[in-house]
Symmetry: C2
Subunit: 215 residues, 2 copies
DNA sequence: AATTTTCTTGACCGATTGGTCAGCTTGTGT
DNA sequence: ACACAAGCTGACCAATCGGTCAAGAAAATT
């Protein structure tokens, strides 16, 4: 599954800092393994090896595999929600939605494994974070729909369905993480270069912003 | 995992027809279980139960779990490629791409489990169908890029990146299958009605077709 | 009717998994 | 220095998994 990545950094340090560091190493390794193998395909041994720890040690910090998985998913969810900052307080659709696309594309580029774990979780019926979908995500979505609707009512953009516009934004931006392997294969097997990422961003923004602007 | 669905239809029939029927029942059950649990989370026993057959019988038709999985993925891949029919021989972008969106949205509606299995496979690095990505899918993609480029050169649409436009089309249409659970949750827990599906289709088509039309 | 082939199945097996635990080491407070 | 708590780990276990197999049932062929 790859060589261990954890650089123990054997310095004397406070117990609290060491704990936080170990937990973080476990979460990072778990995110990678869950993304590559799925929840069912991942094993605690794989995660332990990648984190450079004995398996029994994982169970000292996280009682069960499901407990560890839940923490990974929740971490992603928070990153995911934070991307909305540029969405609010925007004077117009081009700024707000354009900024949101930039933010979400950047997350796809920097946290592809997190995005994959989230996608996997939802695809399998969200057994772990169903309550988040029904509370936090629903509220978040309703709020953004209201913002978009306000723009529409003010004549700043075309009268399309705000809800399905949001779905399009999620789908297009997360595609570059979730289907990153496919994108890379169709890119000659090489990861997207910086310029190619920029082209992706620009294309997505151009099509969507032109697609929603007032007639 | 749900009650068995296989209706044996105990009629005297040719051996060949019975075999085809059994294989189809297994594939359908497998598609559902793989979509719901992932490859690692799925068990042959789950598939057998859903198909209404003893587990040992599955191994008579499909030697291994991986063999069965491969057949499921290949079936989806073919349906997936067939959706391109309306893409070719189209006189203009609106007809060709609009028709492609319709076809792919219809697949998401009718074969959500297939789409999920495909997504899962790609997300985990395409361990089984990597060769398809590198041959069939790459050729298919290059061909469609050429068509789009031709439209651009003829001034029939805006000069955007054909490749990333394709990614957008895949992402937006497959989102309604792969993230169907999330869409349903945000729809008050109820599946999209016929009218809501139509709104989804119309919104996707409107935004993209307006987004790519010649300035 | 006899025989061969295809299909079906319960019982079984080695391997792997998530999780446990007793005992050890290391750090902390007094 | 001492005692206690926190952190760590190899060895182990019950449960489950994919897959096998021998023996029988059902159909096709002769």
């Amino acid at each position: 599954m790859a060589p261990p990545t954890a650089q123990p950094e054997k310095r004397p340090q406070s117990r609290q800092a060491a704990r936080a560091q170990t937990e973080s190493a476990i979460l990072t390794a778990a995110q990678t393994v869950f993304a590559e193998a799925g929840f069912g395909g991942a094993t605690m041994q794989m995660i332990a090896d990648l984190a450079g720890l004995p398996k029994a040690n994982l169970h000292y910090y996280y009682a069960t595999k499901e407990d560890l998985y839940r923490h990974v998913v929740q971490d992603i969810f928070e990153i995911w929600l934070d991307a909305a900052a540029s969405f609010d307080h925007a004077p117009d659709p081009a700024t707000g939605i354009g900024g949101y696309i930039d933010a979400k594309m950047e997350i796809s580029r920097r946290h592809p494994n997190g995005s994959k774990v989230w996608a996997s979780e939802v695809m399998h019926g969200a057994p772990v974070i169903q309550d988040y979908l029904e509370s936090t995500l629903r509220d978040w979505t309703d709020g953004r729909i209201a913002v978009i609707q306000k723009w529409i009512d003010a004549g700043q953009m075309a009268p399309i369905s705000p809800r399905h516009l949001l779905y399009m934004l999620w789908a297009t931006t997360q595609h570059y993480a979730d289907f990153g392997h496919q994108v890379q294969t169709l890119n000659g097997g090489k990861p997207l270069s910086k310029a190619e990422w920029q082209t992706a961003k620009d294309t997505v923004k151009q099509i969507i912003l032109r697609g929603i602007r007032a007639a």
